[in-house]
């Protein structure tokens, strides 16, 4: 990728936004048909009741909750790649981060359908939302299910904002490209103009943007850990054998990232080929993903070993009989498929040849996706079907309505992802360009030290209509030199424009800190505990 120019990256990433071919529309129609089938099945379920599903006593949670947990898990890798790897300054994330973020948002949307589907009486779903009810009915925040609503709802909002904010500079690039090629009244130009919010790549914008993006990453990182921990507590807070265990939170988080990384491979490998992004998304990026999966594979494998060990070591006869049931009962074929699909298959990534073979990567990612879905099914239905009372033990099998809705949910997820690939840049343009520049940054920073005295004087911000002289440069080094010369000549009211963030330019302009941090701090503190007068006021009103 290092041999590419900024222009080639721009063209390579924005070219797929051209009108789609017939095959794309056929795929979209098929996905729409899948969604329609699922919707029909859901309507049948609402009309006839939950009896059309395989749910019964004792298995009251099954495929729908499995799908919920699976799709929330899929959502995790987007934040891992974008937020966590951004914080640790990992370079390989840039090529796949935007697709992974989009996947996160669409996966949470898909996951969010299942509590409503599972509820049966979907029209009372709003009871779970904390709002000032006329009947003084408020959710009970002691319930893990309410924690789930808070965590998943927060995750959806934060992921969507994180994704959209990351897209803004790239949407501006799309706006300028379509404006030049299709004119200002083309619907795409107008769409990107609105969505890019007037982004112009000014140094004063990059400064606040860079700081805000860092805070988004810092806020999203603990959130991603909390969300699947909270989902795991839906189970771990109960007393059922197999569920009531303290390893569930890390076990679920590792599993979520494991399945999410596999889904990134599943989506990005064909996307790269169909959109002809081979020069931007290289085999090295896939190899880095596979290497990350080795870590999650080992954690998941450790959890698989630990579960039966805890059952044995605890001395609890219910835990022991449940472990035996998983190993020998009706669920055993599924149970034994888990270490095979989720550990033994992806551990093949230790071999470099496998990591650099696209067919192998794709096949393994599919198998891990299947394995991780089965893992959730085994966890959820297993404990319910084999609890403390032998006369209560029953098996479970999904009915056609559940299978149709499950397949329809996959179509729903893919439908959104297909739409994304044709409407928004699938690669983080500005990040990739910044990555290219990073190799040359050292030279720029060396020069920057010489001008430390001039950098200390902050250049005032210009009004948008300020008259002046505009110079256009091919290289950022020339821009930096021009800023210094202009400041030396006594011109302090200057603004710089660039297609990517240039910290050296911000330094030269004397604008490094951003007041956005105060906004974030105040928002976070008020979100934590403000409004102390409110509870007492409510109490007195009900007394």
């Amino acid at each position: 990728m290092s041999e590419l120019t900024y222009n080639e990256i721009n063209d390579g990433v924005l070219s797929p936004l051209r009108p789609p071919r017939r095959a794309y529309w056929v795929a979209l129609v098929l996905l729409f048909a899948g969604i329609g089938a699922a919707l029909t099945a859901w309507i049948i379920q609402v009309q006839l009741g939950m009896g059309v599903t395989g749910l019964s006593k004792p298995v009251g949670w099954a495929v729908y909750i499995t799908n919920f947990v699976f799709w929330v898990g899929i959502a995790h890798s987007g934040t891992l790649i974008s937020a966590i790897l951004h914080l640790v300054r990992s370079r390989w994330r840039t090529a796949v981060s935007r697709s992974a973020e989009a996947m996160t948002v669409f996966a949470v949307m898909t996951a969010g359908l299942f509590p409503m589907v599972h509820l049966g009486r979907v029209w009372v779903f709003y009871y779970i939302i904390p709002y000032p009810s006329q009947r003084q009915l408020w959710p009970d925040f002691l319930s893990p299910l309410i924690w789930d609503v808070c965590a998943v709802g927060t995750y959806f909002i934060v992921s969507s904002i994180f994704w959209y904010v990351g897209l803004i500079p790239d949407l501006a690039a799309a706006r300028d490209r379509f404006g030049a090629s299709h004119g200002p009244v083309c619907w795409r130009t107008r769409l990107y103009r609105r969505l890019s919010l007037g982004w112009c790549g000014a140094a004063s914008q990059w400064r606040h943007y860079g700081r805000a993006y860092l805070f988004f990453a810092a806020l999203a990182t603990p959130l991603v850990v909390s969300v699947h921990s909270v989902v795991s507590w839906d189970f771990a807070m109960s007393i059922l054998p197999g569920w009531h265990t303290t390893i569930f939170a890390p076990y679920f988080v590792a599993g979520a990232i494991h399945s999410g990384l596999a889904m990134v491979l599943t989506l990005v490998i064909p996307m790269r080929r169909l959109l002809k992004l081979e020069r931007v998304i290289t085999i090295d990026h896939f190899e880095a993903l596979a290497q990350t999966m080795i870590v999650t594979t080992l954690i998941v494998g450790y959890a698989y070993v630990l579960e039966p060990f805890i059952a044995w070591y605890s001395g609890d006869e219910f835990e022991r009989q449940f472990a035996l049931f998983r190993e020998t009962g009706w669920i055993a074929p599924l149970y034994w498929a888990l270490p095979l699909l989720n550990v033994l298959v992806p551990i093949l990534f230790v071999f470099r040849k496998v990591r650099r073979n696209l067919k192998a990567l794709f096949a393994i990612s599919i198998l891990v996706n299947i394995g991780m879905w089965l893992e959730r099914l085994v966890i959820i239905t297993g404990s319910l079907s084999h609890d403390f009372l032998p006369h209560n033990w029953l098996s479970y099998a999904p009915r056609p309505v559940e299978i149709t809705i499950t397949i329809g949910a996959l179509a729903f997820f893919l439908f959104w992802f297909f739409g994304f690939t044709k409407l928004a840049p699938t690669v983080a343009l500005s990040d990739v360009k910044e990555d290219l520049l990073r190799g040359r940054r050292r030279a720029m920073e060396a020069g920057e030290a010489e001008e430390a005295d001039s950098a200390s004087r902050e250049a005032p911000r210009l009004a948008r209509s300020a008259p002046g002289v505009l110079a256009i440069f091919k290289e950022p080094e020339a821009l930096l030199a021009a800023i210094r010369r202009a400041k030396k000549a006594g011109f302090g009211r200057i603004e710089a424009y660039s297609p990517m963030r240039l910290e050296a330019v911000e330094d030269a302009l004397g604008r490094r800190t951003s007041p956005v941090r105060y906004w974030t701090l105040i928002g976070a503190l008020s979100g934590c505990m403000a409004g102390s007068r409110w509870p007492s006021a409510r109490r007195s009103s009900t007394a």
């Binding site: 709802g153 927060t154 505009l470 256009i472 440069f473 000549a489 011109f491 007041p515 008020s526 934590c528």
Partner: protein, 103 residues
């Protein structure tokens, strides 16, 4: 401003559900709600901050903006009075600018 803790504590006090003689407010589980509130409001405030300070939300682009700035070129706008334009040009000329124009 209703933070996560206030929401959870307030709800518990309104509901007033006494279980086993214990006080309806239980701080430990409310830490989850407080945490999610922290992240959510911090993110929303962060978004508001960047929108405000980066002056986003105004579709009009600044005078002299060149569409190549989002592609592969770098621009420098030096604000000056019309009679200073010559001095600015001569200051920037040695830096290898592709194009210098008055906007």
């Amino acid at each position: 401003m209703h933070g996560g803790f206030a929401l959870a504590i307030g709800s518990a006090l309104v509901n007033g559900l006494m279980a086993g003689g214990k006080h309806p407010v239980s701080i430990i589980p409310y830490c989850i709600v407080g945490f999610e509130g922290t992240i959510l409001c911090g993110t929303l405030a962060n978004l508001a901050g960047v929108l405000w300070h980066a002056r986003l939300g105004r579709p009009a682009l600044p005078a002299g903006y060149d569409e190549r700035f989002s592609r592969d070129r770098f621009g420098l706008l030096v604000a000056c009075e019309p009679h200073e334009a010559g001095a600015v040009r001569s200051a920037l000329a040695p830096c290898g600018a592709e194009d210098i124009r008055v906007v």
